[in-house]
């Protein structure tokens, strides 16, 4: 049978964000798959250098819609580390509450999307109806359903009153009960099992070798979770299980995410009952001294790494964001090869891709075998040259 090239993306009903998978199909089987990124690149890291640290919280949050709190928390803990600021315990607790609410939100959203990819519209509708509970919780705590803007340099911006706490506890109970129902559904419904078992297999050694992270790798039996490996905020004081599965397929990823949601509900309850008294933020001077910091964070999709370099002014010298999906992309061609065309959207969805998170630009020079990041001036000069060669008039423009 002859091979055909089918492009999946950048526009495709099975994708939530633009990305391109070049599939080579032989009948219904996938022979080869290549990942082509870049459709979502917005120059966030470059833009971060031109804005103050406080403005950057707003910017870094918009790297992604669903893991927004992960990015801001990771970034701001880097800045607080450079500034040698110790934030109050209550602020850490509130950050953890929002973080776990975000995890519940993200996993429920993912379950709905996975159901949609396999055509199970009913489960999609049910899960997203229950997701409204989480969004209401987040709105109570932060004032907004997405992009919570709860972090500030030195702590958090809003406090949790006893009324909010009572309402949260009520809704968490509802969510936990519904998630347990979805666990039963996902593990027992015949068509779901038929579509998720032995699909998108990623063996354990390959998961480690390719550097996959988050639920993708935990479903292959690799017990890696930043909250346990390198506890940040108050995770070292909390009691929760590290969920792994050893089926190495999409079914394992479903199970891991659903059980993680239940664990997150438990964590939220623990922290709400632990909430220590005290201020919710401290004053940190806006001019951050010279220095650099790296921080890791367990986002819903995996390990999120931020690097910040300060240069004594109120604007950072360099901000680098390594989103978890960028690490998981390498595993996708391996999971797709030898599988069925029908499984492609589900396997892609099973790593919980966040294309917005992961588009970064790096200039590689094959001849010189080097790679570098451009400075603002170099980038601007290159852009002007590009358009000058195509006939655009730049005589009125002066290059600094």
């Amino acid at each position: 049978m002859s091979k055909i090239n089918v492009p999946l993306g950048p526009q495709h009903p099975g994708l939530k964000e633009p990305i391109n998978f070049g599939l080579v199909l032989e009948g219904e089987q996938v022979d080869k798959a290549t990942v082509n990124l870049g459709y979502n690149h917005r120059g966030v890291e470059k833009a971060a250098e031109e804005r103050t640290y406080i403005q950057d919280i707003y910017l870094i949050e918009r790297v992604c819609g669903i893991c927004s709190h992960s990015h801001t928390t990771c970034y701001i803990t880097c800045v607080e580390e450079i500034a040698k600021a110790e934030i109050p315990e209550r602020a850490k607790a509130i950050r953890v509450i929002v973080a776990e609410l975000e995890r519940v939100h993200s996993h429920l959203l993912w379950l709905g999307i996975a159901a949609y990819e396999i055509g199970f519209d009913t489960l999609f509708m049910y899960v997203w109806r229950d997701r409204e509970h989480v969004l209401d919780c987040l709105e109570l705590v932060a004032g907004n359903r997405v992009h919570y803007a709860i972090n500030t340099l030195g702590g958090v911006r809003r406090d949790i009153t006893p009324e909010i706490k009572a309402e949260l506890l009520k809704r968490i109970d509802v969510l936990e009960a519904r998630t347990k129902y979805y666990t039963t559904l996902a593990t027992e419904e015949t068509t779901v099992l038929a579509r998720t078992q032995n699909v998108g297999v990623l063996p354990r050694d390959l998961a480690i070798k390719l550097g996959a992270c988050g639920p993708t790798t935990r479903a292959s039996g690799v017990a890696r979770d930043v909250r346990k490996d390198e506890p940040y905020l108050i995770y070292d004081k909390l009691d929760f299980k590290l969920i792994t599965a050893d089926t190495c397929d999409v079914f394992g990823r479903v199970v891991v995410r659903v059980l993680e949601t239940v664990e997150s509900c438990k964590i939220i309850r623990q922290v709400l009952n632990y909430l220590p008294e005290g201020p919710i933020s401290i004053k940190v001077p806006w001019k951050v001294p010279e220095g650099e910091a790296v921080n890791r964070y367990e986002a819903p999709r995996g390990e999120d790494i931020h690097y910040v370099k300060g240069n004594g002014t109120d604007k950072p010298e360099r901000v680098k964001v390594r989103a978890p999906t960028l690490a998981n992309y390498h595993a996708v061609p391996h999971m797709l090869q030898g599988g069925w065309m029908a499984d492609v959207p589900l396997v892609i969805a099973a790593i919980d891709p966040c294309m917005s998170c992961s588009d970064r630009a790096l200039v590689t020079d094959k001849a010189a075998a080097s790679s570098a990041v451009w400075s603002w001036e170099e980038m601007r000069r290159n852009g002007i040259e590009f358009y000058r060669r195509r006939g655009v008039d730049f005589s009125k423009v002066t290059l600094k």
Partner: protein, 316 residues
């Protein structure tokens, strides 16, 4: 029954039980499908005029035809689909009798119902787009999966009634209603095979939106897509009517408007079952569907046939 009057023939073909009736009832059943499905999914669902509004909107849109495709086939296939479905309806009892009733019309109806599937395949093939090509291959593969269980399931009641005439089969069940519950296995097989024929969840594999965009219909726009959707809605009416006539006794001894009202009620019941099937499951893969149809549905239908032969010999 010969039709001498040309106007009467046109009435039958175009109005009742032809295109107009099929279109209107098809749109009604489509609304029932969407509204009931929505309510089961904890949603609101569309208003009653939604299928009609969708049709009108699609007809008013521009038709975009890919340059590389076969123009003649691409443009005319939707009308062939509608024609095939309408022709099949002529032989299925809508009141207590059908328009054309002859020995062997059960086979004729099954054959005519494969014409829409053939047009889907040709539509995808002539579209020359990779998604359409995959969709059209899936249409044919799915045809090989559900067609045999469907035929086997329909043969059981035919054996029991001792006739290949759909009207005679329904009259037989109307006279002996006790035989109807004994056809349960065959009815279930026919229901699932019909779900496959109509390309509805869990068998909407050929036009799986999240996998191959629109499948065989990816490149279709405007009035061509409107008529393809119309053909699918009409096929639901015809399929439900066929199941009603073969398994549920058709007119059940009533005549005229009483039989017609009963027909509407029972086809609505069949559609309700199809809706519940659609809402409960995820989409399966094509090779899983082939396995399911050949390993489970076909043997079940054959068991029903054996049982029916036994019933006919023992009870006459």
């Amino acid at each position: 029954m010969a039709i001498e009057n040309i106007l009467l023939a046109l009435f039958y073909a175009l109005i009742f039980p032809g295109i107009w009736f099929l279109a209107t009832y098809g749109m009604t059943l489509e609304w029932v499908d969407r509204k009931l499905g929505a309510v089961l999914q904890n949603r609101v669902g569309p208003p009653w005029y939604q299928p009609l509004a969708d049709f009108i909107k699609l007809v008013s849109k521009e038709v975009i035809i890919p340059k590389a495709c076969d123009n003649v086939m691409f443009r005319n296939l939707p009308y062939f689909a509608v024609a095939g479905v309408t022709a099949a309806m002529m032989m299925i009892p809508v009141w207590n009798g059908a328009l054309f009733s002859f020995e062997g019309d059960l086979i004729a109806v099954i054959y005519l119902l494969t014409i829409p599937t053939a047009t889907f395949f040709l539509a995808g093939w002539s579209s020359t787009s990779p998604y359409s090509a995959i969709g059209s291959m899936r249409v044919l593969t799915q045809l090989f999966a559900y067609e045999v269980p469907l035929m086997l399931a329909l043969i059981g009641p035919a054996i029991l009634a001792g006739s290949w005439n759909i009207t005679a089969i329904s009259e037989h069940f109307a006279r002996h209603p006790a035989y109807m519950p004994a056809q349960l296995a065959g009815f279930l097989v026919a229901l699932l095979a019909l779900q496959g024929k109509l390309e509805r969840l869990p068998f909407d594999i050929p036009h799986a939106k999240t996998e191959i965009v629109g499948g065989q219909f990816t490149e279709y726009t405007g009035r061509l897509l409107a008529f393809f959707n119309m053909a699918v809605s009409m096929e639901m009416v015809v399929g439900a009517a066929l199941l009603n006539a073969v398994f549920l006794g058709g007119g059940l001894g009533l005549t005229g408007t009483g039989a017609f009202a009963l027909f509407m009620l029972k086809t609505l019941g069949v559609v309700l079952l199809l809706v519940v099937l659609r809402v409960l499951m995820a989409r399966i893969r094509i090779e899983q569907m082939i396995n399911f149809c050949w390993q489970i549905l076909a043997p079940l239908a054959m068991a029903q046939i054996v049982f029916d032969i036994f019933l006919r010999i023992k009870l006459g």
